[in-house]
Symmetry: C3
Subunit: 351 residues, 3 copies
């Protein structure tokens, strides 16, 4: 509780510093670095607050809250990127969150979980990994056929927005059906409240923290997005790397470090649930929702991505299913997932 307060204060300081740098004549690189760090902190604070708020309601609602609010920073970044016309950053942030969660965070959680598990094998229920694989494959299907049509330049490639919109609606309906069944099964199981991963804050504090963190996420995201252009030019980093790696880790993965902690404590199912829910939600809720939201902007987000990322996404979906679909994972499998991520980040570094 006390530790939580101190970290929360530090995050708040980071946010203020990033804000001061943004509104003064500070070099863009400083704004970029501080707002990226602040984003990570804010993401962590939202995680803590959501969990504490959820503690009042029970595990199913907590899960739903966590998946929805946990992606707030992501959502703000993409929306500000869209309004700044930064389509590359917007799209790569979404993809980056997928890769960071499905490969890096899951890989670390498995590596840590398997190491501390008896016999070196981490065991968990098969259901969620397989459900996530289905959802991810559906989103990959849409992305791949749209992307191939774009590469070929056929007639359909002139209607990418329309096809993306209809596809987005399909994804949202299937995601809704899945979430409904998932929550219902969870409630019917009627198990005892989830043991919180963090210290639980008192309810009013939690609501206050959530509100503050939510507003901070919106502000910091805007500062961050505006600093990207001048900063990456200065630093010589590609926009692809910024979106796919830096934004993804700052906005999403930090929060999910909790999955690694849970894995170390032997809570395999909860660890897998945190990561997998995130992955499913980004692929089948956040991405399609942003495609629909982007209709309000001048630049439309579509599901069309470059072939490299199409291939990476398809193989990620398949590999993650292959590794976790049997409800067991060992050290080298966690390492393999991390290696997938390192290979991808290396390639993107050179883009």
């Amino acid at each position: 509780m006390r530790k939580t307060g101190i970290i929360a204060a530090a995050v708040f300081v980071l946010v203020v510093v990033a804000g001061v740098l943004n509104y003064t004549d500070a070099p863009p690189v400083a704004v970029f670095v501080f707002s990226a760090a602040a984003l990570g902190g804010v993401a962590w604070a939202i995680g803590i607050a959501t969990e504490s708020v959820g503690a009042k309601f029970g595990p199913a609602v907590t899960g739903a809250l966590q998946s929805t609010l946990g992606n707030l920073p992501e959502l703000f970044i993409v929306i500000f990127s869209l309004s700044a016309g930064e389509l590359v950053v917007a799209q790569f942030s979404i993809l980056g969150s997928l890769f960071a969660n499905a490969l890096l965070v899951l890989g670390l959680a498995i590596a840590v979980g398997a190491t501390s598990a008896e016999g070196g094998v981490m065991r968990f229920h098969k259901r969620l990994p397989n459900d996530t694989a289905t959802l991810l494959l559906l989103s990959v299907f849409l992305i791949v056929i749209l992307g191939l049509s774009d590469q070929v330049g056929d007639n359909a490639s002139e209607h990418q927005v329309a096809i993306s919109v209809i596809g987005a609606i399909c994804l949202l309906i299937v995601y809704g059906a899945w979430l409904f069944g998932y929550l219902k099964a969870d409630i019917q199981a009627g198990h005892e409240p989830t043991e919180a991963a963090h210290t639980v804050l008192p309810f009013p504090w939690a609501v206050g923290l959530l509100a503050t963190a939510g507003i901070s996420a919106a502000l910091v995201s805007e500062w961050f997005v505006h600093s990207i252009d001048p900063a990456v030019e200065k630093l010589g980093i590609s926009k692809a790397f910024t979106g796919l790696v830096i934004v993804a880790i700052a906005g999403n993965a930090v929060e999910n470090v909790v999955a690694v902690q849970l894995a170390r404590k032997g809570k395999s199912d909860l660890a897998v649930s945190v990561v997998k829910n995130s992955v499913a939600q980004i692929a089948c809720f956040l991405f399609p929702a942003l495609v629909l939201i982007s209709l309000l902007f001048t630049e439309q987000l579509t599901f069309v991505i470059d072939p490299v990322y199409m291939g990476a996404l398809a193989l990620t979906a398949i590999a993650v299913w292959q590794i976790t679909g049997d409800g067991e994972a060992v050290l080298f499998e966690g390492m393999a997932l991390v290696a997938f991520y390192v290979v991808l980040a290396t390639l993107v570094w050179f883009e």
Copy 2:
């Protein structure tokens, strides 16, 4: 029995109307619409008749008969398309049957079956879905490497007919080996006769219906194929959509509505068997057989297809395996399969 007679009579009327329209000066759109509807009806009649004929022999033979005769309309359409030089329609009809069965019909059967099953989970034997996945992957392998070679334009791309012919022979041998093992296991199991999905007709009636329906299928297919060119121009539908969606649903999927009915009655294994057998047969028997048959025509059918459909086919094979390979399926999985189909049909609509 009486209901069957009335529907059969209605189908016969449809066939006659389509014929009259074809041989008079009727607008091609009318011929197109009526012969598409007649095709659906004829496909249904063949299904009924086959099942009744099969009832005399037992389940294994029925299955073999059903898979073989059930694809008659498909076969005629492709052959008439080939002889009319309509390669696009020929190829897209085959692909469309695959997608319609593997995604739309299977998805509906799962959605309906899971909804009416206890606990919301439809359960079936794992064996057939996994066998079908193997067969489908084999056919996808041939299609993908030929297609990639075609895209790159390497030396092998100048020998597509030769490679397709050898590939077709490989597929047919593997399919034969599979079917032999499958029928043998079925006969050895020696279980009671399959309960028919439809009313069983008396044997002579069934043979008569089969003969009439078979001849009608040939006639209607010809009228249909000849009406396509002027009709799609008038209607503004792409040939891809006609082949992939309209022909597929008319010639193939209607018959398989029986799978959905079986699923609703809780006969999961039979439902899955009807769809999966169709998918396996189209991929590893009908497609290669038509490639060989097309050697007799001036225009040769090959396994080379556009990248969009290569990607769609590969991901369909993987997703269907992922969803059904564990012998269980729930509502959202059925919805996901239907969503795959809707996404694909949407893209093809714009081609």
Copy 3:
């Protein structure tokens, strides 16, 4: 023992003949044919010798020895190809070994094993096939994203060597972690010594044979590589076919015929282990090791391959996992794997 001696003598004669042909003015086609045959023989001798040496140490060490020494001929061919600037042959030899083992040898072993197994179903432990699938998918991921980047010609495509080097290091680390866990589990299991597939030679003889065979492998590989250019021109075979089929079968698959023999004797687990270990080692040890070794040469080996082989490799990884991941295989599945290989070899024939 006696039979082994006779075959070993015959192999030695073959090596001598190939050497004489190479150093005299013999036509390159003769050198090509005799050194290819000698390579197969040498590969067999290394297999025999390794097994006999290993018999002194126990199964885990034997496995490690076999995987490492069994790929000696492969290693020499690639290194001589690199030093002769024959990048195509080098890369296609590696890929060819993968395809030959994963499709042809595994397919034959399954076909034979299932036929002689009770009930026609070959059964084995699921663990190794799934581990191999993970390793293969990791290597496919690297190959596919690099290859797609190369096709698109983006910025990263100008840094293929750097990305390949980092990727190679990732693969080697994951392979090391896997091998460590695999050997440890094997030693802990403490099972009785593996029954040798061949006659066991006395230890000193075995060491002598190993040394002779190793040196012969180096010599023959050099003769073979130098005869390729003139010979394939004369014979009208493409270099792709030479690397992917002839070198692969000569240098690698012959040794693995032992897997087929083991399968026939009902030793399914050992048969699967021989093939799967080879596949995993080529993909995640030999290929990356050769990429690193090639830094010493003027021509660097990378993971960039043509789209046709990218597609073939990805689908091979998926199909092999699909077929063997459940720990059961039947005749038609073995035939399907062989058919995959025949289809690929046919296409490569026309390159």
